[in-house]
Amino acid sequence: MSGKNNINMSVKIEKLKLKNPVMTASGTFGYGEEYADYVDLNKLGAVVVKGLSLKPRAGNPPPRIMETTGGMLNAVGLQNIGVEAFIAEKLPFLRKFDTKIIANIYGESYDEYKKIARKLDAAKGVHALEINISCPNVQKGGLSFGADPKTAAAVTRKVKDATDLPVIVKLTPNVTDITAIAIAVEKAGADAISLINTITGMSVDIFTRKPHLKNITGGLSGPAIKPVALRMVWQVLQKVSIPVIGIGGIMNAEDALEFLILGAKAVQIGTANFINPQATMDVIAGIEKFMQMSNVANINKIIGTFKP
């Protein structure tokens, strides 16, 4: 991408240098291989893999997904093969590509987070960790780690202590004040913040009187949530100085540019992959076109040009 027409799309998230600001969002791109037939992974800024836990997890019973207006609900329940199987079975494939690999991780206790981080730190080919703090804190009665600045900061610190890899903390939008959480994780040493994870929602089958999801509630994603994601990214940008990665409802280059203009250093594409397996490629090409149209050669001259 870069080079052609002198367009430079590379961005830096602290130590992490990306060839362009477009990543995949965790849980929407499998372990990379599922989309390798559709997307040239070499062209991506980074691949963020499905959330990894210490042990394999079976996930929730079906139905796990439901369409909503402009979005979808999912209650996959963090099904994954576990960090060890990931390192043994999935990482070798991913290492072959000239892109950054970001491992999304989550645990049910501080200890679990620490252990996963250590294992990935030791594995070759992982360039950064993204900590999912939206999941229930079993020690704290099931409230999510990300719902409270204190627990969010504590998880961040544990993971930072366990690894030298850059640590991105992924925030949940299901909070009263996103900036309090952002400030707390920045102070705890986060190298970057990504947001937003899904917003909790549900839907009801009026004929059977049952929830559409077996789990009753699920996470809402897709363009329906984009305005909320933009607002939270904007609020956080005003309060922290570490890089912010924008996520939520990005379907095309215009959507991605909204986040970049606000000041996000990079973006992640989630649900859009399901609608169009080449969404990431289309976003990269669209940003490049926009830069040409606007006569801007360096993406960093677009990032943060918002005029409130």
């Binding site: 849980g27 929407t28 791109f29 499998g30 599922e34 989309y35 390798a36 037939d37 559709y38 997307v39 040239d40 499905k50 079976a58 996930g59 929730n60 019973p61 079906p62 139905p63 796990r64 997904i65 439901m66 369409e67 909503t68 207006t69 402009g70 979005g71 979808m72 999912n74 996959v76 099904q79 897709g222 363009p223 649900t271 992959n273 399901f274 609608i275 169009n276 397996p277 080449q278």
Partner: protein
């Protein structure tokens, strides 16, 4: 990196039975040859409602000189299929596929027993056609059990009539063929087939497949079923289309209908949980 979304143009979209439509779509000739049991994810181009693509089994596939034609049979059951039914000739759709693992083709079984309920006729009549053309010799024979609520909703007959097969039609109300559920009729016939010389292929509503699993339980029959589950990606990435399989030590374990299926051996599925 070879695969892509195909833009298809609808050139037929007709109601062929009550609430059941046949859609013919023209696609670029590079579209890969589908196997019976494979499916496509289909969306209407350019609009955001329905939001997600919908999975449909391939009913027919034909290579023409400079394009190929794919036929789908679909039933109007909700918002997405309602909107599909309203599409006119010339409308564009986005098609991803062929996806999933089709039926494993038995080259040795003497009895190829196909059981379809309702829309299950779509993949199974494609399979029957395939078996008839490519596999069947003097020694193997196709038995097609086709069930529907009534004669108005019965589909797939046009194809079956052109095949060399023994067709058994059943309707719940007896308005055509035998009266009864297709599984009941099969159960009566089952003793006719030698388990080690038979391959059963089935597709239909969950209760039908569940009943079939019960009937075959304890027997030596090999049976492949094509399952349905709500899907988002269709390629194995979202883990949305989970079906519970028999896990180790009674632990829950899920497979992806899209990428690990949609065709499974019937004894792999945890029917009790479904």
């Amino acid at each position: 990196m070879a695969k892509n979304i195909y833009i298809g143009e609808i050139f037929k979209n007709e109601e062929i039975a009550q609430d059941c439509f046949l859609m013919s779509v023209a696609l670029h000739s590079t579209f890969a040859e589908p196997q019976p049991g494979q499916f496509v994810m289909l969306r209407i181009s350019g609009i955001s409602e329905p939001f997600l693509a919908r999975p449909f089994s391939i009913y027919s596939f034909q290579r023409e000189t400079d394009f190929c034609r794919i036929d789908l049979l679909y039933q109007v059951v909700g918002k997405g299929t309602q909107i599909l039914a309203g599409l006119i000739k010339g409308s564009q759709v986005e098609i991803l596929g062929p996806l999933g693992n089709g039926f494993e083709i038995s080259q040795s079984a003497r009895n190829l027993v196909l059981i379809a309920g309702g829309m299950g006729a779509a993949p199974l009549s494609f399979l029957a056609e395939y078996l008839d053309n490519k596999v069947c010799s003097g020694s193997s024979k196709i038995y097609f059990y086709l069930g529907a609520r009534n004669s108005e909703t019965l589909i797939g007959m046009d194809k079956i009539n052109n095949l060399t097969c023994t067709a058994v039609i059943c309707t719940d109300d007896g308005s055509l063929g035998e009266k009864g559920l297709v599984t009941q009729i099969l159960a009566q016939d089952l003793k006719k087939y030698a388990p080690d010389q038979t391959m059963i292929y089935a597709c239909g509503p969950k209760p039908m497949l569940k009943e079939l699993a019960k009937i075959l339980q304890g027997t030596k029959f090999k049976c492949q079923v094509s399952l349905e589950e709500r899907m988002a990606c269709g390629v194995g990435a979202c883990l949305g289309c989970a079906v519970e399989v028999k896990g180790k030590k009674g632990m829950a374990a899920y497979k992806r209908v899209c990428a690990d299926g949609p065709v499974f051996y019937i004894d792999e599925i945890a029917w009790k949980k479904i």
